[in-house]
């Protein structure tokens, strides 16, 4: 139980998807104009990560890994399908994203309108494929651990994007050089936040 909690905390702060690995930058930079939309995107990413990582975990454990098909028939014990993992992970992610897109469109048209092109782009949000690949690489021992990792990474992304959106809302009242307005200054602030987050790297849990 403690292990699961550790993984959760670790993936929020120490292994933060945005600041430690610099994944998911595109949607992070483009959709963080206001706290409201970034709140929505953060939730969507958390939700998608929370579903895809465990699903991909099961897929990896029972279908893809070398010898994973042994439960079907001992004959398949030496079948290794891991070359399919990229495409299957991506397919799972894309279908989940499409699902989220349909749900959001139905229940919150305003959010759907403001997320615009970036909802489909969650599918190529590297944080999400990264989540599944990290899960595969780190060999989590149980479904619970994988789920806690997925949710933790999502919450990490959520915090990061809401944080930058809050800064961007305030910075509108500051006197930023015209050419740096909005996008430029966001890049620079993200860089500074990234440097600050690097101090978490030393912590061992």
């Amino acid at each position: 139980m403690q292990e699961i909690f550790n993984i959760f905390i670790k993936s929020i702060f120490i292994d933060n998807m945005v600041f430690a690995y610099f994944l998911g930058m595109c949607s992070y930079l483009a959709v963080s104009k206001t706290v409201d939309t970034s709140f929505g995107l953060g939730l969507a990413v958390t939700f998608v990560l929370g579903i895809t990582v465990p699903v991909d975990y099961l897929l990896n454990e029972y279908v893809l890994k070398a010898g994973a098909l042994a439960w079907l028939d001992p004959e398949f014990a030496d079948v290794d399908l891991s070359f399919l993992s990229f495409i299957l992970f991506i397919a799972i992610i894309a279908s989940m994203v499409q699902l989220v897109e349909m749900v959001v469109e139905k229940f919150s048209p305003a959010l759907y309108a403001s997320l615009g092109i970036f909802l489909p782009l969650i599918a190529v949000n590297c944080a999400i494929l990264g989540g599944s690949l990290f899960m595969q690489e780190r060999d989590y021992q149980s479904l619970a651990q994988a789920t806690s990792f997925g949710l933790g990474s999502g919450v990490g992304f959520f915090l990061a994007i809401v944080g930058i959106a809050a800064i961007r809302e305030k910075i509108r009242y500051s006197n930023v050089p015209p050419a740096l307005r909005r996008l430029g200054i966001t890049f620079i602030i993200t860089g500074l936040m990234g440097i600050a987050f690097m101090s978490f790297l030393g912590i061992k849990l």
């Binding site: 070359f83 495409i87 397919a91 590297c126 050419a179 440097i195």
Partner: protein
């Protein structure tokens, strides 16, 4: 370039040329459309990987733009994301597998980028925004243009990061040895990923100063 004259408009009409040129400046994928940032951070610590990545993205983007543009009338909109991703992923994995079998040395350099190319939002973004609604030839040009615009930024960022971070260009020592004797040090901060963000920020600053119409409202 001699090309078939079957088209109604010339192949390099003003409109088509615009597709090639715009992404280089006023519609740059990185600094204006904000696409493909992750890979810009991951591969720009040194110049060489930045160049390799730019070329790979160009091949993949042009090819998948054409494929999607050919398929565009048959793709059901509801599953378009999956279709697009499957096309990209299949293509990238295939290329990687073939390289791994026949030119192993090149594949070793490239395999690092396979995951990055599949999730590069430039590719997905251009498929969604352009190839889904245009004929193959303009889609091809759009692919080339956008990947050039992407590559230029990558190369500029990598140039500065390698020069100041390691004192080298393409692995060759550029900063004279004498400088180090006078207490010059390579700036280790430059090769950390956050500095790539800040460098891109500065590039945006310079670009928008020269091109006022890109300046955003408050």
């Amino acid at each position: 370039m001699n090309v078939k004259k079957k088209e109604h408009e010339p192949l390099f009409s003003a409109k088509n040329l615009k597709l090639l040129k715009d992404p280089l400046s006023i519609n740059n994928p990185i600094t204006v459309q904000v696409l493909g940032i992750c890979s810009a951070l991951a591969v720009t610590a040194k110049l060489k990987p930045a160049i390799v990545m730019s070329i790979s993205v160009m091949v993949v983007l042009a090819a998948s733009n054409v494929v999607i543009s050919l398929l565009r009338n048959g793709i059901p909109p509801r599953i378009r994301i999956i279709v697009q991703l499957v096309v990209i992923a299949t293509m990238v994995i295939l290329v990687d597998q073939v390289l791994k079998a026949f030119v192993y040395d090149i594949s070793k350099q490239l395999s690092v980028f396979v995951g990055l190319i599949i999730t590069n939002c430039i590719i997905m973004g251009r498929l969604e925004a352009f190839a889904m609604g245009n004929k193959p030839w303009p889609a091809f040009l759009d692919g080339i243009g956008n990947s050039l615009g992407y590559g230029i930024i990558l190369i500029i960022v990598a140039f500065f990061r390698e020069l100041f971070g390691s004192g080298t260009i393409l692995g060759l020592q550029i900063v004279p040895k004498g400088f180090y004797d006078f207490g010059y040090e390579n700036n280790g901060l430059m090769i950390l990923p956050p500095m790539a963000l800040i460098t891109v920020g500065v590039i945006i600053w310079v670009q928008r100063n020269r091109n006022k119409e890109l300046i955003e409202e408050r």
